[in-house]
């Protein structure tokens, strides 16, 4: 595999060199020709990590309870109050547990959802919901860092590498920006810097990275500059490359040429630009339609961010995208409707992303969802009871959602208790409650994600949930 990759890289390099040579001889079209000579192909296996920040209410989405069973009258017994009736001010929210409509050819859903799941319920046939996860914390930083790395933090300080870093470090993809961390932390404690995520806090940061330099020279002088870089270096300079450092830098420069030559920054601009080719504007219109984006486009909304995930994967820019998809969930005060509205925005954005990936053919066969694993998580959930100020506080038990490649679909694994939604003990082979079973911890989920791509999960010091793996 590595040998094949090396051969491919060498072939690309030779193609690029030929483009350089041709440019030198003809004195025309060097930079773009060079850029296009190199391939920009989607990764065979992609990963998406989507974070709902603030602590989500799983009753509203991944772990619902029937309000006809868990009634206010039984609260002292169950310690659970779904509160779906409190959403009745907005008729777009159902006030009962949601059973997805059967998808053609997929069979009926084995998963039920809360009222805020939105359009994502339509993709039940791609999902595995894991319930009753014991987060062992109700502190925000500890919870999400635990889920990011699969290692319980020291105090609030993260340990280990982010799962995306782990994946990129092991798989060594050839994508120009292997990992993007958008509005989320990223850690690397043992891999080379090439496994680091490109950390951006706004859409504009990403576009800046992919955009041509703001200082452009005369086109003929640019050509000379490219030609100068293509020259062989002296023996003395070559000595710096004895361990590949210069070669790595040259590769990075070539990648940069590829990225800039393909005008990838334009791929992340979803508004029409009159001076751009009609085909590109048509592509933008398709993205806007797929993600429900309207002018002026809010790139930093959940829908805008989901569109960027889809673009990064489909254009072959990245293998892993980690993203803080939606916030506004830490609702200790206020109404259930606020939380439900914010949460649904995230689920609908994921639904659009999944629809986009399912509808896009992957070069290696099948569609992009066949090559993509999506993990959706939050740092913990919210209390099953409503507090005195109309909100919900932090609760130790949570749920997570896995979708796509390497994961069994249309299934639920684990269960939170019917009293106070306590994190239960489950049989790891079946996912069913078992007093002699074990807690489901974040590292179990991370190990499962790594194992879904046949990666080394030893760093999690646990076994994956094999019942979930295909």
């Amino acid at each position: 595999m590595k040998k094949d990759q090396l051969q491919m890289e060498r072939r690309n390099f030779l193609k690029a060199s030929a483009a350089f040579g041709g440019a030198s001889l003809l004195g025309t079209l060097p930079f773009r020709a060079f850029a296009q000579a190199a391939n920009l192909a989607p990764a065979d296996r992609c990963f998406v990590f989507l974070y709902f920040s603030g602590g989500w209410d799983v009753l509203l989405s991944l772990d619902p309870r029937d309000p006809n069973v868990f009634t206010p009258d039984r609260v002292s017994e169950t310690r659970i109050l779904p509160g779906y009736s409190l959403l009745s001010n907005d008729s777009s929210f159902p006030t009962q547990v949601v059973t997805p409509t059967e998808r053609a050819g997929a069979g009926p859903s084995n998963i039920k959802f809360g009222p805020a799941i939105g359009r994502l319920a339509d993709h039940y046939d791609q999902m595995c919901v894991i319930r009753g996860i014991n987060m062992t914390t109700v502190a925000h930083e500890v919870g999400f860092r635990y889920f990011l790395t699969g290692k319980e933090p020291n105090g609030s300080a993260a340990r280990g590498s982010s799962t995306a870093t782990e994946i990129v470090g092991q798989m060594k993809p050839t994508n120009p920006v292997p990992s993007i961390a958008y509005g989320i932390e990223s850690y690397n404690d043992r891999y080379p810097g090439s496994a680091n995520a490109l950390r951006v806090s706004r859409a504009n940061d990403l576009i800046l990275t992919l955009s041509p330099s703001p200082t452009q020279l005369d086109s003929e002088i640019e050509k000379q500059l490219v030609n100068l870089r293509g020259q062989s270096v002296t023996c003395e300079a070559d000595a710096y490359n004895t361990r590949g450092l210069v070669g790595q830098y040259r590769d990075a420069q070539n990648q940069m040429a590829t990225v800039l030559g393909n005008s990838l920054n334009k791929s992340f601009t979803y508004a029409d630009v009159a001076t751009d080719p009609p085909a590109l504007n048509a592509e933008r219109a398709a993205v806007r339609a797929a993600y429900g984006l309207t002018n002026p486009i809010n790139y930093d909304s959940a829908a805008g961010r989901a569109a960027m995930v889809g673009t990064a994967l489909k254009k072959g820019i990245s293998q892993c995208v980690s993203m803080n998809l939606v916030g506004g969930l830490d609702t200790h005060f206020g109404t259930q409707l606020t939380h439900a509205t914010n949460q649904r925005a995230g689920w609908n954005a994921i639904a659009d992303l999944v629809s986009d990936l399912r509808g896009s053919a992957h070069p290696k066969g099948g569609n992009f969802m066949d090559h993509t694993t999506i993990m959706v998580f939050s740092e913990f959930s919210r209390t099953p009871l409503i507090n005195g100020t109309g909100g919900r506080d932090h609760h130790i038990s949570s749920s997570a959602l896995l979708m796509g490649a390497g994961i069994k679909h249309n299934m639920v694994f684990g269960k939170a208790g019917d009293i106070n939604m306590a994190p239960g003990l489950v049989n790891r082979s079946t996912g069913l409650p078992d007093p002699k079973g074990m807690s489901i911890l974040p590292e179990d989920i991370i190990a499962t994600v790594l194992a879904s791509a046949k990666l080394d999960y030893a760093i999690t010091r646990t076994e994956p949930l094999k019942a979930i793996l295909t």
Binding site: A158, E185, T209, P214, I221, Q224, Y240, T242, L245
Partner: protein, 216 residues
């Protein structure tokens, strides 16, 4: 010849005498007594070490890059602090080790920085009357305002100066010829396009984005 023989005899006699017998004169160095030196272990055979000995070459850190840009051009890249994390600087909160990988993001932002700093330095040089006060073209006589009229020896002299300034090693041989030819082509184009600052500015960009600028 007589003088040479006398010197040689004197040197030979000095080597054979004990150091304690001849007190050193002012301004002379006392030879180190090597008689009791432990055996010197030769460096490993490079052929057995993958073609290299000693430590591996490294990419400069963000702090070193910042200092290098300031030292070589006399000005600072305006974005270096805001992009420091992307260039690899550790914040010791989320990232506790400086990344010195010469990756895509580093290459991209260094390119941006080199263009900003070099074109600014080249533009400033054009308004600096004294050649010796110029940053990028101190070897070019101030009377030459049309860089396309620089002769090859002058261009090479300035390229040697710039490469020494940027990399700590002068351009020479065939590589110097190549750079000189490229400069003359760029200078001619810069004159025609009325973008004089891009003549030496482009050379500065090429040198600042060259591996020799970012490695040590």
């Amino acid at each position: 010849m007589r003088m040479f023989l006398l010197t040689a005899v004197f040197a030979l006699s000095a080597c054979t005498q004990k150091a304690t017998e001849v007190p050193p004169r002012d301004g002379t160095l006392k030879p180190v007594d090597m008689s009791n030196h432990p055996p010197i272990i030769p460096l490993p055979d490079p052929e057995l070490q993958g073609g290299h000995v000693g430590r591996a070459p490294r990419r400069i850190t963000v702090a070193q890059l910042k200092a290098s840009i300031q030292t070589t051009t006399g000005r600072q890249w305006s974005q270096i602090d805001s992009l420091a994390a992307s260039l690899g600087k550790a914040d010791f909160a989320l990232v506790n080790a400086e990344s010195t990988e010469p990756n895509l993001v580093f290459a991209k932002f260094l390119e941006d920085g080199a263009r900003e700093v070099c074109t600014a330095a080249a533009a400033a040089d054009l308004t600096t009357p004294l050649a010796e006060n110029r940053v990028l073209s101190p070897e070019v006589p101030a009377t030459i305002t049309d860089f396309s009229k620089i002769d090859a020896p002058t261009a090479k002299k300035n390229l040697v100066y710039l490469s020494t300034r940027m990399w700590g090693q002068p351009l020479s041989g065939a590589e110097l010829e190549t750079w000189s030819a490229s400069f003359l082509t760029m200078a001619a184009r810069a004159q025609v396009a009325n973008k004089k600052k891009e003549a030496w500015g482009a050379i500065c960009i090429a040198m600042m984005t060259d591996p020799r600028f970012i490695t040590y």
